[in-house]
Symmetry: C2
Subunit: 228 residues, 2 copies
C-alpha cells in the first residue's frame, strides 16, 4: 500500500504555482534574493519567505547569506534535472501556460537550463558535436571521443579539470521546447561559460533566455554546423 519514497511531498512542493514560478526562475542558474523570488512568484515578501523555508526544508533549495541579502539557488543539478524532466513531460502533454508571452520565442531559441545551454541552439550544438564525431551517443548516453578531446581543447575547455570533478562530464537533458536532448553535465556548463566569457552571448536580467550578439551568433553557427 504505502510503498517506497514519498513522492507526494515533493509533488506538493512543486505543485503550488507560486513555488513553481520561483523554482522556474532559479532554473536560470543565477542566485536570486528572496525579494526577487517574491516578484518571480507574484507574491509578497512574507509569503515568499514561508515558501522558501518550505522548499529549503524539502532540500530543493539551498541558501547562503551575504550581508543583509539571502541568496537562493537550486540545491544541486539534480533538482534542475528533475524540473526540466517535469517540464518536458508537461510540454509533451500540452500542459502549457495559458498565455505564451512575448519572450517565448527567445526562450525557445536559447535559454539556460540550470547551468547549460538549452533550446534550439542547445539541441543544435549537441547534434553537431555528435555528427562531427566529437561526442559518442548511445541512446541517452553521451561520451567524449578522442577526437572530441582535441576539439574541446581548441575551443578552450579544460577537460582534465572537469574530469576530476565528481559531476558527470556529459549528460543528456531532455529539452522541453525541442523535445530532444541537449548537452548537460560539467561539459555543458563549461561550454556555456565559455560563450559568456568570449562575449558571444549574455544572460538577460529577468529571464532564462540567452541573447547572442550578432558576431557571437555567427561564430556559434560556424563552430557547430548542421548538414543540410
Amino acid at each position: 500500500m504505502k510503498e517506497g519514497p514519498d513522492i507526494a511531498q515533493i509533488g506538493s512542493l512543486i505543485g503550488d504555482p507560486a513555488r513553481a514560478n520561483m523554482l522556474t526562475a532559479l532554473m536560470g542558474g543565477k542566485a536570486l534574493t528572496a525579494t526577487e523570488l517574491a516578484a518571480a512568484g507574484g507574491i509578497t515578501l512574507q509569503t515568499a519567505s514561508t515558501h522558501l523555508a518550505k522548499l529549503e526544508a524539502g532540500s530543493l533549495l539551498s541558501q547562503r547569506k551575504q550581508g543583509r541579502h539571502r541568496y537562493f539557488t537550486l540545491a544541486d543539478d539534480g533538482v534542475g534535472k528533475l524540473l526540466e524532466s517535469i517540464m518536458g513531460f508537461a510540454a509533451g502533454r500540452g500542459h502549457l501556460r495559458h498565455q505564451p508571452g512575448p519572450k517565448e520565442p527567445a526562450l525557445r531559441k536559447a535559454r539556460i537550463c540550470y547551468d547549460h545551454l538549452a533550446g534550439d541552439y542547445g539541441v543544435r550544438m549537441l547534434d553537431s558535436l555528435v555528427a562531427s564525431g566529437a561526442i559518442d551517443a548511445i541512446g541517452d548516453g553521451l561520451a567524449v571521443t578522442a577526437k572530441g578531446e582535441d576539439r574541446f581543447q581548441c575551443i578552450g575547455i579544460d577537460l582534465h579539470g572537469l574530469k576530476s570533478s565528481r559531476r558527470p562530464l556529459c549528460r543528456s537533458c531532455l529539452d522541453w521546447s525541442e523535445r530532444r536532448a541537449h548537452l548537460a553535465g560539467s561539459l555543458g556548463k563549461a561550454l556555456l561559460s565559455n560563450f559568456f566569457d568570449k562575449g558571444w552571448a549574455r544572460r538577460t536580467a529577468e529571464s532564462r533566455s540567452v541573447i547572442f550578439s550578432p558576431e557571437g551568433e555567427r561564430q556559434f553557427l560556424q563552430l557547430f554546423p548542421v548538414e543540410a
Copy 2:
C-alpha cells in the same frame, strides 16, 4: 516570470497523498479497478472517483471499461519513468515514508517498475549484461551489441519484433532503492515477461514486489552472474 510548461499542474496532481498512493500502486503495471485504487489510496470510492477523473484529465492515467469494471493504468511508460525519477529524487534526499513496512525488504530486492524489473535484482541484471558485453553502455545510454543479439535469442526474446515497435529497445531507469540504473524499455519489459512465463517469478497480489521461486532464483542468478 511565467515561462515554459506548467509544472505546477502536474506537481499538484502528484502532490496529493491519496493520488500519489494510487499512482504508486499503478507502478506495479497491472490495471486496477477504481475500487482497488480507492483501497490503495486509503479513501472511499467516491473520493477516488474524483481523483481518478482528475488524473485522467491530466493525462497521467488511461482507463478502459470492461463490463461493469473500469480498469486504470498509467497513460504510458513516460508516466512510469517520471514517477520513478521522482521516487529516486525523493529517496536520495531522505524523503522516505515514515513507516518502513514489513514488505520493504522484498520491495528492495525485486519489484516491478511499471513493466520491467527493478530493485537489487534489476540492477544486478543490467550490470551483468553490461559486464558480459551483451549491452553497451555510455553514460546513461544503452544499446544491444551483436553478442547481445545472440544472447537474448537464446533466452527466448524476439528482438526483431521489439525493434519494430516505436518504443525504444533499451532505456536506463534510475532505481530509487539502489540509486543505480536498471534496464527499462521494451527489452526490459520482454525480459520480465519472460521470467514470468518461465515460472521463475510471479507478481504479488497487493504489492509491486516480485517473488522468485527457489528454482527461478537459482536460474536467474546463474544467467546473470556478477564477478566477485
